[in-house]
């Protein structure tokens, strides 16, 4: 391997790693706040890319219909479960968020889609369509079992993943698509050709990570979420509603997933089920980061991305095997050195 190839692989790895970092951050956030290991996180990524691709073609994406379906389910499940505690405010909130918002987005998409308003509109619309799915899914699947063990939540997450993948095939079809790059520019750096796309990925990721750090370090809401993650009962005792915290965490996760989808769309052909592997690789990074530390997670995600591009150069057939095996030595190290904690149920 010469320097050119190495640098090329490094660039490739860092770009992938940056996307994994965003998804992994979302995974860590959701786990910390709700103890849910969000297996379906990758679906947000894939669905966003597919939505943008449809908008670029000037066709109406199926995403608003999916959103409306989830909204109806979320509203129905809340009405059934909390029938006795319903009051006007709550009903209005449910109707507004679960029904009016999806219908409004549906009409908006229908109007805007044929107009081909360009990349920025497409991206913003796609993010707006995907982000509300997070809290809806939380309310449908996870809120009723919020106090169960990590295992039960993890299995429910797999259930959601199965359903969403099936819905993805139903709404988006089996064809894969890519989206237009964020920037056509490219320049040379010595022997290395740096594309505008990769610069865009890095800038977006870096900005988001800084915003994330500010949100959790400086704002009351961010601090409340951190409180939920370190001690759920304590957070409830001081008046932080853990259900709302869960919804916010899921909204942030879906939003971050959507932005990752924007970034990943031009890099690869995205299919309805592509999200799973992206999510799982991010998840490897999240585990390498110990599921708690955000900076460690970002470093681990960059490492996973770089390892992936190295592996695909050396042994492309065994790329996935090797990426997922990365986790084993880390876990082994942890099992020897991490203090043993008994699982509490």
């Amino acid at each position: 391997m010469d320097t050119t190839i190495f640098l090329f692989l490094l660039q490739d790895g860092i770009i992938n790693g940056a996307v994994y970092a965003l998804v992994a951050i979302a995974t860590v956030l959701v786990f910390a706040v709700t103890r849910v290991i969000l297996v379906p996180q990758g679906e947000f990524v894939a669905f966003t890319a597919l939505t943008i691709a449809a908008l670029e073609n000037g066709t109406m994406p199926s995403t608003p219909w999916l959103l409306l379906a989830l909204g109806v389910l979320a509203a129905a499940s809340e009405f059934i479960r909390h029938f006795r505690e319903l009051n006007l405010r709550r009903v209005v909130r449910i109707v507004l968020f679960d029904l009016v918002l999806p219908v409004a987005l549906l009409l908006l998409t229908r109007t805007l889609a044929p107009m081909k308003l360009g990349q920025v509109t497409n991206i913003l619309l796609a993010i707006a369509l995907i982000t509300p799915m997070g809290p809806m899914i939380y309310r449908i699947a996870f809120e009723p079992i919020a106090h169960s063990s990590v295992l039960v939540l993890l299995m429910a997450a797999f259930g959601v993943h199965f359903s969403l993948t099936g819905l993805g095939l139903l709404f988006f079809g089996p064809e894969g698509t890519g989206t237009a790059p964020l920037s056509q520019a490219s320049f040379s750096l010595g022997n290395l050709v740096v594309t505008g796309q990769s610069v865009a990925v890095l800038i977006v990721t870096a900005v988001l990570l800084v915003l994330f750090a500010l949100f959790f370090g400086r704002t009351l809401l961010g601090k409340a979420l951190r409180a939920c993650s370190s001690n759920r009962i304590g957070a409830r005792l001081v008046g932080i509603p853990t259900s709302a915290a869960g919804q916010i965490a899921f909204a942030l996760a879906a939003g971050l997933g959507a932005i990752s989808g924007v970034l990943v769309g031009p890099l690869m052909t995205v299919f309805y089920d592509s999200g799973f592997l992206i999510g799982l690789k991010a998840f490897v990074a999240a585990i390498l980061g110990g599921l708690v530390s955000y900076p460690a997670t970002v470093l681990a995600a960059l490492g996973v991305g770089f390892a992936e591009s190295l592996f695909s150069f050396w042994a492309s057939n065994f790329k996935e095997v090797l990426v997922f095996t990365l986790i084993i030595p880390v876990l082994a190290w942890r099992s020897v050195y991490a203090p043993h904690a008994e699982e509490t149920e």
Partner: protein
């Protein structure tokens, strides 16, 4: 004729031999039942691993793959008879599971399931990319099982093979769970501390369960390969692994028969969804995946303890082996008055906090010594230092001349230190007598293999006789077969005392045994401890009830803020100004 549990396997065996040939079941259903049987084997392993042992694996499908591919390669490439590849399949899964297990089972909490997801996916891609294994197309044309020259190609014939394997697996698993190692495994999920305090090697027990579950999956893989007659990576991925886990959870955590119910439920559900949904919607799509995921979430929301307990209630009381009249050989107890436990300059710091500050004291054999002090005095920490739960920061502790420097709870148990816990550590879903028998863990020798083949019965009888005798001593013989979780706190404390006595201890360490006991129970406990002393067993007691400890102890050691402030006979301690100061505040 009265129906007894012992007859279940016989009835099942008869049904297996007859049902497929009666013509009652159409071929389609026979095939479905074969798949249910194969999945049941994996689910039974998972029940043991997850429901009983508290370890979650999403990767069992990979072990099924190892079993299936081993047999496929050996029969196709080397022409070995399928019957001979069975041990090979089992050994390969055993080795792989041993290796992975050694790395992953020690992981705490949720890292274990996460680890299983990762290696589950890695193996899936490995199977799919090795040309030697036929890559993504897999291997076809695997020879069927043969008896003589008769090939078992018909689903009906294969039904017999599959379900005999299931019945054998159920029997083996029940035997394993009922025995000495089984109790240790069942203690894992609720309380590793209790198991370790009586000599259970937690890591080894976990690894054993992991390998056992993997070997059941390997067996399922072997059956799958010779039924399907071809293997490809598809069914060995993480999706199938999740499905197996779901079967175990759906059936009911920790219920062996529930695994079969769960396997049947999921297999039928998937099959029905595949048949019914296209008919309903009139379109072929991935609807069954959508519905399957939704059903999974609904099941977890409504019946996360599984269906079996809902249908059939709580587990029946165990039928222990008939107790024998013998007792386990006792331990040679040292002569009364010889120094037994010597704590010298023992020190324990947590960060900057000195919890135990250069404490010295001795316990002579045949004596009851009380360790008292206000809250936060370091009594329980001292206890944990002696029993090896915490390592010493400095100083030393000697027991019968052995320095307890790099002490583990298991080693303390082997030396004859039997303990109770300040916060009771009882396995709530095990019966009282089984909890007590856990104390006799080190008196038995039977390993997993002897338990699986039912060869541990006479030893078990001895252990249960010991447990029964100790339960009688603490006055709880009449609740011996109740689930321990249904008892009151005071009774649980007495169970812990009985369990500690089951160890045949030299020194009994009791951490607040009288807390939560009523007056009558306290008197009975005091009587019991005097009796124990008269047998030559020494007692070290942490207690807050002053009347109780003053009337009982031969000597007292008083701690305050980690430092020993007084030592002597109870009458002297009562007058000691330093003690009065510590308990009542200044008297000046």
């Amino acid at each position: 004729m009265k129906f007894s549990r012992a007859m279940i396997p016989g009835v099942c065996a008869l049904a297996i031999l007859i049902v497929p040939f009666t013509g009652l079941l159409p071929d389609y259903w026979v095939t479905l039942f074969n798949y249910i049987g194969i999945s049941s084997l994996v689910a039974i392993g998972l029940v043991l691993l997850t429901g009983v042992g508290g370890m979650t694996s999403f990767g069992q499908a990979a072990f099924v793959g190892f079993g299936a591919y081993t047999s496929a390669v050996l029969t196709l490439r080397f022409g070995i008879s399928p019957w001979l590849t069975l041990p090979a399949s089992l050994i390969v899964t055993m080795l792989v599971a041993g290796l992975i297990g050694a790395i992953t089972v020690r992981l705490s909490g949720h890292y274990l399931p996460l680890g299983t997801i990762a290696w589950g996916i890695a193996f899936f891609y490995l199977f799919g990319n090795l040309n030697w294994l036929g890559a993504h197309d897999g291997l076809a044309g695997i020879p069927p099982l043969r008896i003589g020259t008769y090939a078992l190609t018909e689903p009906r014939d294969y039904f017999v093979v599959v379900w005999i394997a299931v019945v054998l697996a159920v029997i083996a698993t029940q035997n394993l769970l009922g025995g000495r190692v089984g109790r240790a495994i069942r203690a894992l999920r609720r309380s590793t501390r209790a198991g370790e305090a009586f000599g259970v090697n937690t890591a080894a027990a976990k690894l054993m369960v992991f390998v056992y579950a993997a070997m059941l999956a390997g067996l399922a893989g072997w059956l799958y390969a010779h039924f399907q007659r071809s293997v490809s990576p598809g069914p060995f991925g993480i999706g199938t692994g999740t499905e197996y886990l779901l079967m175990a959870v759906l059936g009911g955590a920790g219920r062996v028969y529930g695994a079969i119910l769960g396997a049947a439920g999921i297999t039928f559900l998937r099959d029905e969804l595949q048949n019914f949904l296209p008919w309903l919607i009139g379109n072929t799509g991935n609807y069954e995946a959508i519905a399957f995921g939704a059903v999974l979430v609904l099941i977890l929301q409504t019946a996360s303890n599984g269906v079996w307990p809902i249908l059939f209630g709580p587990p029946p009381a165990p039928t222990p082996p008939k107790p024998r009249d013998e007792r386990s050989p006792g331990r040679a107890l040292p002569a009364p008055g010889t120094p037994l436990l010597r704590v010298q300059q023992a020190r324990k710091t947590f960060g900057g906090l000195v919890a135990v500050n250069d404490v010295d004291f001795e316990v002579e054999s045949g004596r009851i010594v009380g360790l008292i002090g206000p809250n936060g005095a370091g009594k329980s920490t001292t206890f944990n230092l002696i029993t090896g739960v915490l390592p010493l920061s400095a100083g030393q502790i000697q027991f019968e001349g052995h320095a307890l420097r790099a002490q583990t709870p298991q080693r303390a148990a082997a030396l004859g230190l039997g303990r109770t816990f300040q916060h009771v550590e009882i396995v709530a879903d095990m019966s009282v007598i089984e909890n007590v028998a856990l104390g006799a863990h080190l008196l038995g020798r039977a390993g997993p293999l002897r338990a699986i083949f039912g060869l541990d019965r006479s030893e078990e009888a001895l252990l249960f006789a010991d447990a029964r005798r100790q339960l009688e001593r603490v006055g709880l013989a009449d609740v011996a077969f109740r689930p321990a979780g249904t008892l009151a706190l005071g009774q649980l404390r007495l169970i812990e005392v009985a369990r500690a006595l089951c160890l045949n201890p030299v020194l009994l360490l009791l951490d607040e045994p009288a807390a939560g006991l009523r007056v009558g129970e306290k008197k009975a406990l005091a009587r019991l401890l005097r009796e124990v002393r008269s047998e030559g067993i020494s007692v070290l007691l942490v207690e807050h009830d002053m009347d109780f400890v003053m009337s009982l102890a031969d000597a007292l050691v008083v701690l305050d803020f980690g430092t020993k402030i007084a030592e002597g006979v109870p009458a002297a301690i009562r007058q000691d100004p330093a003690v009065l100061e510590a308990y009542l505040g200044g008297v000046s």
